[in-house]
Symmetry: C3
Subunit: 112 residues, 3 copies
């Protein structure tokens, strides 16, 4: 197994189905992601302004490449209704070669 791949699994959480659908559409149409999985609503608990808050959220699992990540983060940030949204990227260290190639082929990193 190689030391890693160029694919990233990016997680974010939206407050409702409408915003989750909107963000999904934006990241796919801009070619900053090849695939988005919208999980069923989860129950989130977190520290905010000195208190533990609770909220229902919709997690998204977004598949992109390392080269596209910065552009994806910028668009997620802009499209996201939260002040400090969760946007985190987890590395993919191995994967089906045809799938990894598909993610790379369906995304467009910014031109340099």
């Amino acid at each position: 197994m190689s030391a890693g791949t160029d694919v990233l699994l990016v997680l974010t959480n939206l407050p409702d189905a409408d915003s989750a659908d909107r963000v999904t559409k934006v990241v796919l149409e801009s070619r900053q992601a090849a695939c988005v999985n919208r999980l069923p609503a989860c129950a989130s608990a977190y520290w905010w302004n000195g208190a533990i808050e609770q909220a229902t959220e919709i997690p998204l699992l977004i598949k992109t490449t390392r080269a596209t990540y910065s552009a994806l983060e910028a668009v997620l940030r802009k499209a996201h209704p939260y002040e400090v949204p969760e946007i985190i990227a987890v590395p993919v260290t191995a994967g089906l070669p045809a799938y990894l190639a598909w993610v790379a082929g369906e995304t467009r990193p910014p031109s340099v």
Copy 2:
């Protein structure tokens, strides 16, 4: 915390509960995984043949080892109904030692 462990978290998505159950059974019975979590159905959106497609999918979270990954990928590929299934592995950099040992003990990498 050490630089990493031998355990991998592998993600794949199946089109329905029947195929998810079948794949779960295959990877456990062949000892290519110690544990499989079948999440509730998610809503997936992805590029395919130049259009954004949508589908309902069942995500599986599969716990295996680095040594067993290649054999797991081969079996998943064969058992999976998709032409290009998502099969991606995320590293586990730390974990409860007893749990990590349990994953290693319940899986069987191919003999060399």
Copy 3:
């Protein structure tokens, strides 16, 4: 993109909503986590004592830092009803800087 961040995504599975709520409360109140997402129940299958067992479980996604992980693992272990609970940490290689800073600011690693 940098080689990594100080944030970890920690996964564990509880047997029911009550234990999931209790563990969520413990790790937040002790400042060993900044955020916990409780996913809907999943169907787990795993090897145990030579047989494939099945159970319904509640997955938790816990956001903490590398510096806090060992203390989090110890508390999870103590609060968890299982003999060998799944506690695994996945690295976060990139993320929204404001979110990463928030996780660090809301958690308290043990004093040295």
